[in-house]
Symmetry: C2
Subunit: 410 residues, 2 copies
């Protein structure tokens, strides 16, 4: 018997369905089946040894107690220096709030800024947690999308600019190096977004979790670096991707300089203390080693990802005969594949039926487009995300070849 009626907001919370696919995949592996794990944004390798050792040393040095709600001072200093230098910005430690992974920056920034009824622009397809929090907090989700071009996915700039102009959102979520499309903003697109945000006094939540996961020679760019933007931008910084530290749960919010008793970054600190007191202390010392220590680990991670990207892209390109369309992802560890034709061949219109049947019949686990926000009205093409961070190039090719053989049977 359920004694208590749940709060109204409960029904509005979304989730991360990649974990659903993971649960189904685990059932298969438990039953002795081979699974090709293209579903989760996690790594097939451990975090670098020097980072593990720093965590171990912190324990041995007795650093096992609570620490400051905003994070240990040396880590805040390191994040400020590292991220400031890369963005050509002056960032001071009081502009940094260490959080339990980058993810809390989404919830905490929206809690700091959004009243019920406020509009928030966010990418769709995109990381599902944006939409989840906007709905949970009683906001009005205003999605913007991406367009497929011969050269990959480009932000629908016209749609975004029009939305901001018309809807006057309180917050605009930008995810350059985008999950799931791997889209990278051009300098011109970034400037246009900055202009329209400034003109409409919108605050920007810039999710830069994939800042180091880039495969071409274009320089790293952050919207916070553009004139007039730092004072209205919260940067989501993550240790998870660059240093394969997903399980450590360390990230940071980097926001405008706090000048009054209340500020967005100050509210992040207060939510840290109200939700979980502080971030795991030894993991913070590990993060300090990650950012200031030997970078061979990060370089190896990127090299591994590049090899898996090339293999995954190559293998999926070979599925052109069954209608799979892919573009080489310039960033992130996701291949956003057009699977309209494979779904048509299989006679399946429903995304959930699609991933479940393919997983069950072939062991190939991936996330369909519907896991990245509610499909938008008028959306005609069907997509799926193949994550290549947790799979070797060899296994990627094997899995995708198996998928091709399977699709050819329809």
């Amino acid at each position: 018997m359920m004694v208590s009626v749940l709060a109204d907001r409960v029904k509005n919370l979304g989730g991360e369905n990649a974990f659903l696919v993971a649960a189904e995949a685990r059932k298969l592996t438990d039953a002795g089946r081979i699974v090709y794990p293209f579903h989760l944004g996690d790594f097939g390798c451990s975090e670098p040894e020097n980072i593990q050792n720093a965590c171990d040393l912190a324990h041995k040095e007795g650093k096992t107690g609570y620490c400051n709600k905003s994070g240990i001072e040396p880590l805040k200093e390191a994040v400020a220096e590292y991220s400031g230098k890369r963005r050509n910005l002056t960032i001071t430690p009081d502009m940094v709030s260490i959080t339990a992974g980058g993810k809390p920056v989404i919830a905490f920034t929206l809690l700091a800024l959004m009243n019920p009824g406020d509009r928030v622009c966010y990418p769709n397809p995109g990381y599902p947690i944006y939409e989840s929090w906007i709905n949970y907090l009683g906001g009005v989700p205003v999605p913007y999308s991406y367009k497929e071009t011969s050269d990959g996915f480009k932000i629908d700039l016209e749609q975004l600019v029009d939305s901001i102009d018309r809807e006057k959102p309180k917050v605009v979520v930008i995810n350059n190096y985008q999950n799931p499309t791997a889209s990278v903003l051009s300098p011109e697109e970034m400037q246009a977004i900055a202009d329209i945000c400034i003109m409409n006094n919108a605050f920007v939540l810039s999710d830069e979790a994939y800042e180091e996961i880039r495969y071409d020679n274009t320089p790293f760019r952050s919207i916070a670096s553009l004139p007039g933007m730092q004072e209205r931008t919260m940067i989501l910084f993550s240790f998870s991707k660059t240093w394969a530290m997903t399980g450590e749960r360390v990230g940071a919010g980097i926001g405008p300089k706090p000048e009054g008793p209340q500020s967005v970054i100050g509210h992040l600190n207060e939510l840290n203390v109200n939700v979980y007191s502080c971030v795991n202390q030894s993991a913070q010392w590990a993060a300090l080693e990650a950012i200031t220590g030997n970078q061979d680990g990060a370089r190896n991670i990127l090299a591994r990802l590049k090899a898996s990207r090339d293999a995954t892209y190559g293998a999926l390109s070979n599925l052109r005969d069954v209608g799979v369309v892919v573009h080489l992802p310039p960033s992130t560890f996701y291949q956003w594949a057009d699977v309209t034709e494979p779904m048509r061949r299989m006679g399946i219109a429903d995304y959930d039926a699609f991933w479940k049947k393919v997983l069950s019949d072939t062991g190939v686990a991936f996330c369909p487009r519907s896991h990245f926000g509610k499909p938008l009205p008028g959306e005609e093409r069907k997509y799926a995300r193949f994550s290549f961070s947790g799979i070797t190039p060899e296994d990627s090719v094997k899995g995708i070849e198996k998928l091709g053989e399977y699709l050819r049977r329809f």
Copy 2:
């Protein structure tokens, strides 16, 4: 320039002022002063070595990735078995949600149950985070209090029962082994609270963080064990106190069996994934060792606490001549001291002025009553909390003797 106006809720969030005292205390130590740290609920010792080693081993075994939103399965099983056995209840792993310390259970349970305007009963003086979340979520805080008796602090049962009957709260927060009064519920008091909650269909959030920090021979008791209570109680379980793991941030919510797609424990899991994905994985393996491994560490921690308690109580008892009144704390690591007379002697009525002046003049750092909720109308006596978990018996005596000499000057 602050670009964006913060959300209305921001002004309603409280905090944990023990961290303010910590910041002031740090300034003194940085200036070379001796500080007697009675302010923070943290330990002067590291977590036991076997627990540290388990964390290290998890890293070496490559357990550095994401895990299930509800926690790693072996830990959920261990928490279910351990906590079920101690409460004479059947607890299954699906009733357990591993959280980043026990603290998220407060926020997440209230998020799951409270609509704006809902009433919540909670202890005041009490852990300030209850009041903070009730206000933040737009609820109506209904405080209940404790009465000083010749034998220590007793819950004001009449007040609590009347409040529940009159206010029909959605949630009642119970903190047996109470921070800051160290009060322990008698079986009769516990039954009376259970009866009135059942009669008024109130859900109970039972903060049992200090379950193992007991110094007398009365058995551990949980309100969830009483008939009709398990189905309406969320237990806040913490690794922080029993095993001195404060910096690891591992705890759990243990709730009614989920029987529909939506349940309080299910919502805790969803909030885990929406706020921080999952709890630091290596810390979860460390917690598994804590609960299933050698318990010498926990026994040593309790023995150390008992020695500090005896020293602190003894030394404060010697300040009777300046009007300090104390009772031997039967649980927790807090000495709730009546400081009405010392404040009168010093000519200070304001709590903040009091702790700041004493800290600055003597190095004795403690938290005043005002850090444990807004003082209630009609409250005549003044109190302060001396935490003895982070101080040796010798230093405790030294600090309190210094405090005594200081107070005698007024």
